[in-house]
Amino acid sequence: MNRTKWLWGLAAAVGLLLIAAPALLESYPYIMHIAIVAFFYAILASSWSLLAGYAGQFSFGHMAFMAIGAYTAGIFGKYVRLTTAPTGVCSEIPMGNHWLVLVNFFGDNCLELGKANMPVGTLIYRLPALPGIILGIIMGGIFGLLVGVLVLRLRRTYLALFTIGFSEIVRVTFNAEIDITNGPNGLELAPLFPNGVHLFGFYFNSANKIPPYYVMLMLFLVSMAVMYWLSISRFGLFIRSIREDEEAAAALGVHIVRYKVLVFVVTSMIAAAAGAVEAHYIGVITPNILLILQMSLVISMAVIGGLESLVGAAIGAIIIEFALEFLRTSFTIGPIVVDMTTWRLVFFGLLLMLTLRFWTNGLIYPIIQRLTRSGVAEETVAMRQAAVEGAVEGQG
């Protein structure tokens, strides 16, 4: 049987299993929750591996783009309302028999003031989550473009330092602008489906984990498909050539500026999308998601999965997220209490260092490589080389 077909079959089986999983796990909301968060991290880790592993842009600011997406969605949800009558006080745009109302950023809540002008029975809605998420993705893309242009000249260490700085400035701003973002208390967001969903004759209320599971899974599969397609197209070839040698790539006609900026824009948009959906799912977003710890986790996931493999990074992220959750239980050895909530992170730090040092390709990627036999060409070359050397030795 053809190996590629077999592999596609395996991929399809895994996909079906992921789609069918909620039916089996419906009574375990905790596992559903971990799965959703795992998909979220998988999107981040694989997009970071596209940025760092494929394009060689070691950015520590990936979580900042995620947070920009999440906060954009949150601020949109906080300040934009749909009403059935004009308020006369706020800035508002008529849309048929509805009005899109922009609640003031600062000062008085004009919606409260406007209630006097509105007839009795006027309805005030929040907008659904989707426009906010799309706005978040666009915002992530804009910031990705900005950062991508600013870091064009910076390489390696300088890029890492710059992106840490960027991420820190974003975190501090979200922390300090309490009027808009609620600061460290966190910005609350409406659930993905505030009124629940009717799907295939079933009704799921807004707290049910099944709709967000499918939303996150779809986002995961779509972003994986987009990134996979990018990585096997000319785009992927170009960004890898930039990673290996910028001057040589430029000399061969690769438009360095365009592709470097583009890879920042694409990965930032994917991260922002993940952030916006996750923020709506969790229901609250705080500046703490921008702590170094979170970025370290994403990096560990990508490195342990395989820095130069999108699928490897994604699988690594899913496995690590589940492992981190199941390693939460603390235990005691004699008089010593082992607080696993901290020790599990110690182990992951150690695992990260050891993986980097001894398994450059990560732990998951070699397995994938073995399954797909993508190393076949190298093996053949090595065998021929050995045969030639053997022949030479035989002659000598």
Binding site: R153, V303, V346, L350
Partner: protein, 414 residues
């Protein structure tokens, strides 16, 4: 702020014309086939200082861009900035009270000395290994923790200076072990892409050390009493201490400037260490060998210096300097396992500002960052918001330097 608009207009002027200068000037110099290496920096400074009135002559005449084109506009920018601030907020403590200003400045310099010492370690590592250690802050944290455990927990009554020594030994040993196990592989070709490997593996080390410490000692803040109790001294006399008044807690000079005594002790330790380090680097064989390796690896190897040993030594020394600055500051701040994160961010700012790999640059950069932080913490109205923005000031400097002059103040040309 009473007239906030003055200040924000000045800020808008500086940022707007600075950006115009930074973007347009290199193009004009490039079109005339002149040297563009300093054009964006000089253009930004000139634009921010003089706006169109300075930029148009600059673009028309295109003089050779010496350091004057950066230094003079920078002074003008500082004057515009300070002047508009004073006009915007005439009742601010920074405008009305010269004693407060002097105290803030001196305290900024005092704390800047220690920042400089820590950044010196990072720049030493960079100049010899070509690696920025993203775990630098964690060694700073370990240094402080070691002093706390040595003098307060394990051997109560131990002299604090012995604790500092112990911290130095501990951080040196960890640094050396890490270098041998993980960074040595970069030179032997065992890892692909050594530059990226170094970034990630030191990042991983920081993560590991921070959570290991958290797991071992817990999250409760640790506090170490001040190292020395100064005797009470008054000059010229006890009832008239116009020159100097030393009490156990503070040192007051000229009835104007007061420095908390733990900070003064820490700065004193830092200065002594600095002198020792300079003596070591410039007057001993090993120090000279280190500097030789930083200048030219191959040439140094030819003269009989083992560059690998020097790598190990430099990394150990660098982490030891971070540990020592942590050890001397543990009496000033309360100590938690994540105290190293802002400290390492600050060191990044300092070495980029001073120029990567430049020893004097690191020290002067430390003083500048100390001053900026003191001014930022003391002068900005709305203290709560000001306090939350403190980490951002440094990062703003870092971003500007990386964009306008990536070689920093004293860096070698890239």
């Amino acid at each position: 702020m009473e007239h906030a608009s003055y200040f924000f207009l000045a800020l808008l002027w500086i940022v707007g014309w600075g950006t115009v200068g930074a973007v347009v000037t290199p193009r004009i110099y490039g079109r005339k086939d002149l040297d563009v290496s300093q054009a964006s920096l000089a253009g930004a400074a000139t634009g921010a200082a003089g706006g169109p009135f300075a930029l148009l002559p600059l673009w028309y005449l295109t003089p050779e861009l010496t350091w004057k084109w950066v230094a003079i506009p920078s002074i003008v920018i500082v004057i515009i900035f300070a002047g508009s601030f004073a006009a915007a907020d005439p009742n601010n403590l920074c405008v009305t009270n010269s004693g407060f200003v002097a105290t803030q400045l001196v305290n900024g310099l005092v704390i800047g000395t220690i920042y400089g010492l820590m950044a010196l370690g990072l720049t030493l590592i960079f100049s010899i290994l070509g690696v920025v250690s993203f775990a630098h802050g964690e060694f700073y944290m370990l240094g402080g923790m070691a002093v706390f455990y040595l003098t307060d927990v394990w051997f109560p009554g131990l002299h604090p200076l012995v604790g500092v020594l112990g911290a130095a030994v501990l951080t040196f040993v960890i640094g050396v072990i890490f270098e041998r196990l993980f960074l040595r592989a970069m030179n032997t070709g065992q890892v692909e892409r050594p530059g990226e490997y170094a970034i990630l593996v030191t990042f991983g080390l920081g993560f590991f050390l921070q959570y290991l410490t958290l797991a071992l000692v817990g999250a409760n803040p640790k506090k170490v009493p001040r190292f020395f109790e100064y005797p009470t001294i008054s000059l010229p006399s006890a009832d008239n201490p116009t020159l100097l008044k030393v009490t156990a807690g503070t040192i007051k000079m000229f009835n104007l400037i007061s420095i908390p005594s733990p900070r003064f002790t820490a700065a004193l330790i830092a200065l002594i260490l600095l002198v020792l380090l300079m003596w070591f680097l410039y007057y001993t064989w090993i120090g000279k060998a280190l500097r030789a390796v930083s200048q030219d690896r191959q040439a140094a190897a030819v003269t009989g210096i083992n560059p690998d040993t020097m790598n190990t030594l430099a990394f150990g020394l660098g982490t030891m300097l971070a540990g020592l600055s942590g050890a001397s500051l543990v009496q000033v701040f309360s100590w938690v396992p994540w105290v190293g994160i802002p400290a390492s961010a600050r060191s990044f700012v300092i070495i980029v500002l001073g120029g990567m790999g430049s020893l004097p640059g690191a020290f002067i950069g430390g003083l500048i960052v100390g001053l900026v932080e003191a001014a930022g913490a003391g002068c900005v109205p709305d203290p709560q918001r000001a306090a939350s923005y403190i980490p951002a000031y440094g990062m703003l400097i870092l971003t500007l330097v990386l964009l306008l002059k990536p070689t920093g103040l004293f860096g070698r040309e890239l």
